[in-house]
Subunit: 343 residues, 2 copies
């Protein structure tokens, strides 16, 4: 299987995507199509010596910038790298797409080129929270700033299918991100979603407060895209703050500097663990193809990790299971609460 990598996407493109692709090929044996402006990509490849046969360049005419208006840019720049990559996926040439580009543009391009899995109202962006064990999938973390309750019930179902197929978890535990444990807590939206999840046939374990996410309360945590994005960015900010404080502390006294030298490998490993980039990027769930968004700041290691994850998801049967799960819902042997709002 070939993975299409948007070589022009991200703050450090094309250098880090190209380096990450070579790493993934060398270490994991993945076959990768580098989609980008050929001269730029080839120039970058040349820095790394002869290009191995598992890496090919697919021509695109331009890139979509991190600050462009996503929907407009995707429609106007028909031959932008992300659109060309999605085209490879659509035609079955590639089995997955990875991009560290503008998340909104990746989503817009996926919707335009691939469409949604039938039955899914709104695709969501998932992310694996960087915590202990096998981790927890949080969604939506930014695709839908305003959500109807029915969207969030679908996010829960998509998340459960993902964790079941990609992480081999039977009947994944689904939690609802909320500001209190009791059923009655929360705002109007979470109260409604709570009631719907309780009625669903998912393995719903109730509300999860944000200060408990790292204690393995669930395998999937559902939230609206606004709150999820706030939670992810708060996590990044707090980690940045603590590690910058730690650096300042360490350099403040000679004996701390010496002690830190001893602990350096452990501290670096910890910092890395908090880095979302390490966790293989964020899947777009609900679009009709395997699409992984890496962090805009992704370095070659993070790109490698996203490529590995894309390969894992594409070979897991997740997408087919999503079709079955929502097709069943539409084909109506099993009754589902939110059905009528979608018909």
């Amino acid at each position: 299987m070939i993975i299409a990598l948007d070589a022009m996407g991200g703050d450090r493109a094309p250098s880090e995507p190209v380096a990450g692709a070579l790493l993934a090929h060398r270490e994991l044996g993945l076959q990768i199509a580098l989609v980008g402006v050929p001269e730029l990509v080839r120039e970058e490849l040349a820095h790394h010596g002869p290009t191995p046969s598992g890496i090919e360049v697919v021509a695109a005419s331009e890139a979509i910038g991190m600050d462009e208006q996503p929907v407009q840019a995707v429609r106007q720049k028909k031959h932008a790298s992300i659109n060309v990559a999605m085209g490879l996926l659509k035609r079955g040439v590639a089995g997955a797409v990875v991009s560290a580009g503008n998340t909104g543009a990746v989503m817009a391009s996926a919707l335009l080129n691939l469409g949604r899995v039938p039955g899914i109202e709104r695709p969501a962006i998932g992310t694996m929270a960087p915590y202990t064990g096998r981790g927890v999938l949080v969604l939506d973390v930014g695709a839908n700033a305003d959500c109807k309750p029915s969207y969030m019930v679908q996010f829960a179902k998509m998340g459960a299918v993902y964790m079941e197929h990609v992480f081999s978890i039977e009947r994944p535990r689904v939690g609802l991100l909320n500001i209190g444990e009791e059923d009655s807590k929360g705002n109007e939206l979470t109260q409604e979603v709570h009631a719907l999840l309780k009625e669903s046939n998912l393995h719903f374990v109730g509300n999860v407060e944000p200060d408990r996410v790292h204690l393995d309360p669930a395998d999937v945590i559902v939230t609206d895209g606004f709150t999820g994005n706030v939670a992810v960015k708060t996590t990044e900010g707090v980690a940045d703050f603590i590690f910058s404080q730690l650096r300042a502390t360490i350099t403040s006294k000679l004996q701390y500097r010496l002690a830190a030298l001893v602990m350096r490998p452990a501290l670096l490993a910890m910092r890395r663990r908090m880095d979302y980039g390490e966790y293989g990027g964020a899947p777009l769930l609900g679009v009709d193809g395997v699409v992984i968004v890496a962090h805009g700041r992704a370095d070659k290691q993070a790109i490698r990790s996203a490529l590995r994850n894309a390969n894992g998801v594409a070979t897991s049967g997740m997408l087919e299971a999503l079709h079955r799960a929502f097709g069943r819902e539409r084909g109506e042997p099993e009754p589902v609460s939110s059905g009528e709002t979608r018909a």
Copy 2:
């Protein structure tokens, strides 16, 4: 000035409130009324030797538990410690109330006994984010799970008055917690609030993304109570996680344990810095009196810190300024201290 401390409030009451009051009296010279069940409070006091003259016990008949339904409990238990403390404030016997009890019950008791500052639609809970420098006031962090745009504009104004008077910041910078920097970003609520804040006469500096809160982007950060509560609890969770990882790392190898011994004071100081308890508790803004809620897990140091903060706020003229600010908005002639509403 006397500060009324709810001696029955919090997970560790009455021992930590009593110990914290004694600490605040000894170290800061504060006069404190310990409001609680007299036998329990006196028994606790007895552990600390003779009670100094600046500490008195005011009798209440019972406590409101952390898990009780707040409004109901406050109405039914007329002589609960939090109600008696609010009564002291209402009658002008005390200048401020501090409680580590059920936040909902403290808010309900404040509303029942003190009422709102005229012109304010909804009181909010503020909290000082535990970051560098003088810190940033984030509000609302939990009083209003569902907000109208107008509430949030009032939160901004209350926050600005607070930072101006309590922290002596001229024209405090007001930011809106949001998931993108551009004006057009966010959900419907933040988009509307953004437009209103732009038109206001506040020093509005635009949207603040959660991963930038620690970089001193504003003095006041406004959000709805649901999102604010998620942000605060996410911060607590991430800090807990990182420090528990750090502990695990340290104990994993002998050389790390030795290095950590050297760094121990610095690490403890850092951990403490991330502790909201250290930051003097959370002011209830918009109720007609100075009320500070300490963390439910507050220890004596956190109680001492909340008492010091309560004293600072009560002597800052903040409450009177709030009356002036919202009185002006209502078209009233330049008033008038809040004397008559509280006397």
